[in-house]
Amino acid sequence: MTEPTPAPADLLARTGTLAILRPAQHVKGLVPTTPPPEGALDIFLYVDDAGTVMAFNGHVDLGTGIRTALAQIVAEELDVPLDRVVMVLGHTGGTPNQGATIASDSIQVSAIPLRRAAAQARHRLVALAAEALDVPADDLMVTDGVVHPRAGGNAGLSYAAILAGRQERLMLAETVAVKPVSDYRIVGQRMPRVDIPAKATGTFAYVHDVRVPGMLHGRVVRPPYAGVDAGDFIGHSLIGVDESSVAGLPGVVAVVTMGDFVGVVAEREEQAAEAARRLVVRWKPAPPLPDLKDLPNALRANPSRTRTLLDTGDVDAARAAAAYPMDRTYVWPYQMHASIGPSCAVADVTAQGVTVWSGTQNPFPLRADIALLLGLPEDVIEIIRFEAAGCYGRNCADDVAADAALLSRAVGRPVRVQLTREQEHAWEPKGAAQLMEVKGGLNADGTVAAYDFSTRYPSNAATTLALLLTGRVPADNPIFEMGDRTSIAPYAYDNMRVVVHDMAPLVRAAWLRGVSALPNSFAHESYVDELATAAGVDPVEFRLRHLHDPRAVDLVKEVAEKAGWEHRTGPRQEVVEGDIVRGQGFAYALYVHSKFPGYGAAWSAWVAEVEVNKATGDVNVTRVVVGQDSGLMINPAGIEHQIHGNVIQSTSRALKEEVSFSDTAVASREWGAYPILTFPEVPVIKVVLMPRPEEPPLGSGESASVPSAAAIANAIFDATGVRFREPPFTPDRVRAALTGETPPPEPKPHKKKRSWFAMAGAALAGALGMATIALPIRGAIAPIAPPDPSAFSAEMIARGKQLAALGDCAVCHTVPGGVANAGGRAMETPFGTVYATNLTPDSDTGIGRWSYAAFERAMREGISRDGRHLYPAFPYTAFTKASDTDLQALYAYLMSQPPASAPVPEAKMAFPFNIRPLMAAWNMLFLMTGQAVADPARSPQWNRGAYLVEGLGHCGACHTPRNGLGAEKTGAAYLAGGMVDGWEAPALTALSKAPIPWTEAELYSYLRTGFSPHHGTAAGPMAPVVQELAHLPDADIRAMAVYLASFSGPAPADPETKAATLQAQATAALRPLDTLGGKLYEGACAACHSESGPTLFGVRPALALNTNVHAARPDNLVRVILDGIPSPAARDLGDMPAFRDSLDDGQVAALVRYIRAKFAPDAPAWESVESTVARLRSAPGTH
């Protein structure tokens, strides 16, 4: 199923057709718009002689089902079957301009002309049939598109037949007789949505699925002021783009820069994504934001214009005279639309015109924006609207369309731009924070003295980003009067004043479901509850005393009854068991929206039931009974569905949601940092519909959200006796209020310490300096003609290949993506950078002219053929133990490879290590040449393992700590753990920090599969080691396991039980909503790591058992979070993504601290985690 996009001109050119038209209207939006051309006509309805019925509406379906509901209206009035009606929605080239799809207006407002058009068409078709049949029109009726006499009989004409040869063109009439509700057969029925079968089978085309011939893929790179859209720096913060940083990447077509707009275009999507990640862009630092952790003061300090919307009675006098004054402050946090799919668009900018395929909520305003951006008239621009991920207000759909237009214009081809999750989270216009202050109180007789309400709402239209980034439009933050939605309390308070402080945004913000009405109602409905409690009156009864709208009264009574509302005059604090208490809360709202005074959508009322754990602060919304009066319900099933969605989303907002900010930008850039409600948290929802078929249909897209937060806060009050005036009601906040304890803040970053590497290097400079003068200089071994590979037996070469794998030759001697063993890979050591040599038999740059004697000397003594000393980053101290036959086989294999010409860069070593002859002294101290000798006291298998591990396997090169001169320590330090390339190679001995000591079985599993259930997954430099070990026979792997296990600590009697216990303890300790770390773990890690998570492809490493989580330093954990496991050791392990671009240093540190505390509870907390993250982020290493 793809979007129908017929061209009206084509339709109108046909005969055998009927069309209902209306002069195109000039819709004025929030930005200036061009009036339509003189004489332009909009088409609303089209019927033809093939039976086609198309209906046109300028609004779009945001996943709310209006495509189905509008089709029901048309089918009803036209008297055709529902499945005959094709809805054409929201394309600038084909549908009427009916403004943006906002304020739940599609059914309530924009469907009105459509209903009239369908009725008018029916009247016309019946009139034509009357003529043809020579029967009075009044004697005819229509059934499924066939006009026939009411009296029955065979006579009848289908619409198709009536239209044969005709071109009926009618102008939409202002007054048309529409059907009486009593005749409805389709409207008012529960209808399945027309789009769901295609969506459930993958045949529905979203905007993400639009493919245009010749299309390229784009990604954008956004500035560091993420989510901020006002100030002089907007559009002027770019210092420079280093295009050479992506020059070598495959598929890159262009880097496009305009002001602060930066984008890349590539042939393939993953190439564009990689180029965007790698592109080096330098920005000026972003200026600081106001302190958004203190929203009340940030909002009070923001300059505002004051509008008094209502002032009845004498508020000041009544407030002053109140017997029980009650002044209250309510705070609403910044929240996200959080569309589940990041926005996407395709644009094709050509000399002939511009086509944009967009998921926009506002096709016509978007067209105006694109015109402004490109400097083109609106009439050469066509916006083709495709469905996208649900939006609920305003996400980045328009932004990405403009991005695509800029990139397409730059490259002269169609470009598809997909935003990243991080960009969507960071840059979407947020639902604004809001501050509601009430001054009022009760008189001595319990009546309400005064209600002096003020609200501060910093929102705007969120100008399409590219207009700001390119400097096309100044970032001057226009102030919109949108804080007034539902700002008038619904209660008949005698002395009431309502004041709105209109203000510019603090961060990029726009309307989010319920706009300012949800926060305003949170205040109204919390306060009325507080009044009821103070007056000692049941909250529902108190509301009814002040509520005089009969439909509201009916609704409130009905919902209270259906919910089993329990009468109370104060918080009941009913104990369920232990620390768990239960409560029930009420709230009501008529969602009044649009320009003040606005008008109402559907009425809504909630009874929320909660259970609160007073010890932990956990709030569980167990059940919501929600009633709604939507007037005539076009599709009751659709309304019920919308109510469910509103209840779940607004419960999520009330319990969990709050955007976090760094000092300069939005910090929540993925689902961990911005958790939303999950399946286990979804309450039981009971919907109470109020059928009013004779009343006009009312918008249902937002109303049921509006009472949510107050109902939940009121329920928490009933359960605990404590009033919460600032969502989200997270456990840490609730616990703090209930117990008086405040959670410790996340530690601040420490100052950087001087690297111990630097100190070690300085100390060593002198140590070796003097000792070397008398050392012998080794001679060159004469070059030979490269040996003929056919001189070696196939068996020998095959054996050599295995040994090369054991020795991991290719791991160090290959650059990523390069020719195997051709060298050039940089090896960072504490003493400088060395580059692995070319091990292919190339005569000039490789080892082609090396004799076996030269090779053997290198392997056993660390001397190059030409007599130069090699650095012990090349583990000849281990290789020296290899047998002659093994070295000969290895030589045979290396000499049989295809030669690759690849010069090796010079090592960059610090003094004194840059003096290669000094290595002679080093060798004298630390090199013990000679082949391994078997230990007769040990088994042959153990000895075989020792030979493999100590020799070519060179495990100790990484796993044994090195002394100050870079040599492996010996004795008890053997295999006691070391550092390599910024990764910790954990101890393999009894010094291992692993909670369950290594056993032969676990070692075997780890070396063979890359995974040990009791220790974790091979990652970093160990992943390629396991990949190489795959070439070795089982017997050798087993021997290595036997040997290594002999160093391990004593195994617990029942490791499986211990593992299960550790995991169960950790799982029980998890607190997913208490801290940033907990949220990040739950959102980013738990799907793949939680013990009870879903069965997913790959292994499920248990963090409670993971060696890295129990290590003395956090390096490996930090590294794997930052960089993931890009190349897993084995294909069954699954892949771990990198969070480098999704989490900032503070977030990674919080996550690491949480994982440490929860999964290694007996280990001490790590120090300076934040600086470790910063250090490792800037030194990604070579693995």
């Binding site: 996943g63 509103n646 779940i648 997913l1096």
Partner: protein
């Protein structure tokens, strides 16, 4: 030039000469024009991109071509068609378990994988199974009904009886 990698997608073998670290989702969507898997986060957090890999749910935004080599990949399209939908798809359509529908692919694929392993789940188990599949529109109630309906119609779940469950309308 990378070595060619072969995998089976919805029953047909395909060979790609692409880097092994290429995320599977781009290959399915862009090379094979399969629209079922949706890009949601690129981090394996939300589940919108879920496919089956040898019959196990896998998040195709993090699974690489290399990990998928030699395996059978099933996408939403391979599960069933509009004409012959899979029972899980039938249940989701019957329960109208979509609003915008962007998460729907992940919900259906995760449910399919889940029911293969737990043919008769309780509702609480179904909730846990979908805990890490995110939906923003709030279609959870309909989705859970669809899971339970699919289980029943596939012969797994016992009738829930008259007891008030979370899913009763």
């Amino acid at each position: 030039m990378p070595d060619p990698v072969t995998l089976t997608v919805n029953g047909t073998d395909h060979t790609f000469t692409l880097p092994r670290e290429t995320p599977l989702i781009y290959i399915l969507r862009n090379d094979l024009a399969l629209n079922g898997p949706k890009f949601g986060c690129g981090l394996g957090e939300c589940g919108a991109c879920t496919v089956l890999l040898d019959g196990v749910a896998a998040r195709s935004c993090v699974v690489t071509l290399g990990s998928a080599e030699g395996r059978a990949v099933t996408t939403l399209e391979g599960l069933g068609t509009p004409e012959a939908p899979h029972p899980v798809q039938v249940a989701f359509i019957a329960e109208q378990a979509a609003q915008c529908g962007y998460c729907l692919n992940g919900m259906i694929m995760a449910t399919t994988s889940f029911l293969m392993r737990h043919p008769a789940p309780t509702e609480a188990e179904a909730r846990d199974a979908l805990r890490y599949n995110l939906c923003r529109c709030g279609t959870h109630v309909e989705i859970l009904r669809a899971v339970m309906r699919a289980a029943q119609e596939m012969g797994g779940a016992p009738d829930q009886g008259a007891a008030e469950t979370d899913l009763a309308p």
